[in-house]
Symmetry: C2
Subunit: 445 residues, 2 copies
């Protein structure tokens, strides 16, 4: 235990504090103190009266909780939100998304799209996001400029794209980016081999070697559909998860995104290697990809985090919606209304995300000494009345619009739903220009 500080920067009183760790706990009549970029105390409000604070914030009717951790997305694709919905996966990609990306993606596109995504994410409670997209340098710079925490997973393909030529080129650029941000308190840069069907075994093995050497996470799309797994088995005689394992790419640094096709043997392998799963329920539903066996994974000790995927296939970046969808989908899929209770969904959207990124010592829960990444949720509206159990209310009754305040690394990035670092009017004007250009360009539906 750290001793109670006598002076702090900010002292926040709220009706409920949901620290996420310990699991399922709700503290009443507690206060939280922030000093610099950290949480310096979490204590009963009665005891907090002796603390001298530069700023005191009283939030009656609010719950304080860790900022949400969005473990998978492609932020800049927010510029393609609703661009071509209700389409099968391949025509959607081949006739719409890829032509539009080929025509428009640039550093400027990524910077503006990422700013739009960050505005939406902060307004719905996210304080950390993972990103995989072209020009990750632009995404990283935007997140840093806006005070948003993120994990940049630089993309690796075998083939050329707007951002690189071949796997070596992507890796070279990605590691240079990693160097540029090695002193950043907010941005971490990790490997993002796109998928086993877009990166050959030799290149995956190279990533495995480098990731081990640099002790750096690896983020990969995996088993997104049964079709992907079937094709791999036909072509390679083994499931993609087994291929990754054979190449030494499956371990506690690995983030496996989607995993809708999961046999018992897959679950056992994930558990044995300590690899993480990132569940994207709304994207998996909207693209008709399948259902990740979340309850079984958790029961076998596999860490499962949550992601929104991009706004082009969701169509929002709202983790409150994702928590609810994850809980409801798990109940439906297991035919068991007790599966994935509220506390588990909340853990998936916070501490489990932090664990997947290897950041669990810094974020994902409200604990003294951790980074001050936290949000306040206003539970006074008719949508969240009456209030018997705050955890239920947060997962089953909130839709994200109740998030009123947000702090990242101790900085208040939103107060009473006003963003401190983003000029929404100026941003909207830039988005309008992109919309006009994209709506009349290649791929428009």
């Amino acid at each position: 235990m750290m001793s109670t500080p006598t002076t702090v920067d900010t002292l926040i009183h709220a009706d409920w504090i949901v620290p996420v760790l310990p699991h399922g706990v709700v503290l009443e009549n507690h206060s939280i103190a922030l000093t610099g970029d950290r949480i310096s105390a979490l204590l009963p409000t009665a005891e907090a009266q002796s603390i001298e604070a530069k700023r005191v914030i009283a939030l009656p009717g609010h719950a304080l909780m860790p900022g949400l951790v969005n473990c998978h997305g492609h932020a800049a694709m927010s510029l393609l939100r609703g661009y071509a919905d209700d389409q099968p996966l391949m025509p959607w990609l081949e006739e719409h998304i890829w032509p539009a990306e080929e025509a428009h993606v640039s550093e400027e596109f990524v910077a503006d799209g990422t700013e739009l995504a960050i505005a939406e994410m902060i307004r719905s409670g996210t304080t950390t996001f993972s990103d995989m997209y072209f020009f990750p340098n632009a995404c990283a710079a935007t997140a840093q400029r806006l005070g948003m925490r993120c994990q940049i997973t630089f993309p690796i393909f075998d083939f050329p794209t707007a951002w690189g030529q071949d796997a070596d080129d992507y890796i070279r650029k990605g590691l240079a980016l990693r160097d540029n941000f090695k002193h950043s308190a907010l941005v971490t840069v990790v490997f993002g081999p796109h998928a086993p069907y877009t990166v050959c075994e030799a290149n995956l093995a190279k990533v495995a070697t480098l990731a081990a050497e640099l002790d750096t996470p690896v983020h990969i799309h995996l088993h997104e559909t049964a079709g992907e797994v079937l094709l791999a088995v036909e072509q390679n005689g083994e499931r993609p998860l087994d291929t990754l394992n054979r190449l030494g790419l499956l371990g506690p640094r690995t983030q496996c995104v989607h995993m809708t096709d999961l046999g018992d043997q897959d679950i056992a392998l994930l558990a044995a290697t300590g690899a993480h799963v990132v569940h994207c329920p709304q994207s998996n539903m909207k693209l008709a990809s399948g259902t990740c066996r979340v309850r079984a994974l958790l029961d076998h000790g596999v860490n499962v985090a949550l992601g929104t995927d991009s706004a082009a296939s969701n169509n929002d970046l709202n983790l409150f919606g994702e928590m609810q969808s994850a809980a409801l989908l798990a109940k439906l899929h297991t035919q068991d209304a007790t599966a994935l209770p509220a506390a588990d969904a909340l853990a998936m959207a916070t501490i489990n995300g932090a664990r997947a990124m290897g950041l669990e010592d810094r974020i994902g829960s409200l604990e003294t000494g951790k980074q001050a990444d936290l949000i306040a949720v206003d539970l006074r509206g008719p949508e969240t009345q009456p209030l018997y159990h705050p955890l239920s209310q947060l997962v089953y009754a909130c839709n994200g619009s109740q998030v009123s305040h947000s702090w990242i690394a101790g900085e208040q990035v939103m107060a009473n739903r006003e963003l401190s670092r983003i000029d929404l009017n100026a941003l909207t004007r830039r988005i309008d220009q992109w919309q006009r250009r994209i709506a009349t360009g290649p791929g428009a539906a």
Copy 2:
């Protein structure tokens, strides 16, 4: 075609108008005129300049659409929101919901719970709701007092409850209620036999006779789970839908709620009889009930509407969330990303609901001569930018908090998210009192 009126009460200009009929249409640069309780014109804004209006409302960046129609719920149960989540159906009912209801349900409980529900529904775009609960007189009076449109389905059971003794008593009270509201422009009163497992065949037959005689709809929980159907087959040798058909209770006046267990023969029977299905996707997921085959029903010409069910099993009354869940669940369930596109989900939440209630001549679409039940949705926020296709944005990107204005029968019941007839502070104080009483009473989790 009606001629353009020269003077109207209210003239509204919006960037987009989504009339729902014709299906899938989005009108740009159009205006809508309201006179008394009706829509008196829907026309290009250029042509609307000649209309003299007592009040002109310009809503740049907004979409106007019909108010949403919530076809199934138990409004007063909002007082039990989040009371006992993540429980299997029977313990949830037997150990929590029923003891709490037995201890607390009264006319006052129903009046306050219904007001809370109406506040939430208006704020998330609903202008008509269906209700089945004890003391339907209190629900009807509350809706009438608050200017909310509703279909009251008075409950019928074989056994006594707080509101009645036996089927004859429920029917007598219900028909008296129907008489009391026969001149109401907002409230219709219809039969609500609870379910085939709580109302015996003799009483269901009685309802069938009376409903036909009075040409009045019948609203019934049906095939909510596979277990319910299995038990009926074991006990009666036939599926509940077949029982209803045999008793003459299946026809164009019948609203079958849930229908997660649907064989091809059930779909054929529904199509042949013209009965309606009310789909409650989030409730069905949360209670692990099963999945209604919405796409197959629509393909066979069955009218499918949407409902939230109660806030005790949802935990919100937000039809924007329900539209999205319906679309996503249909895609996942059929393994087809094209299933239930945005326009279909929107129709289910509007005109299909009106059809199920037999109110399609009055509500469910924006057409000249229909009742002025409409909402404005503010699409200027970062969550709904850019905007390529308004229908996609409404179904896949909105969460209900973008609803800014609402009119019911020509009366503005919400402006800039302020409710005109409900004092939220006074309501919250009354809800607080209920919460304190219920949280310490029987059934508390």
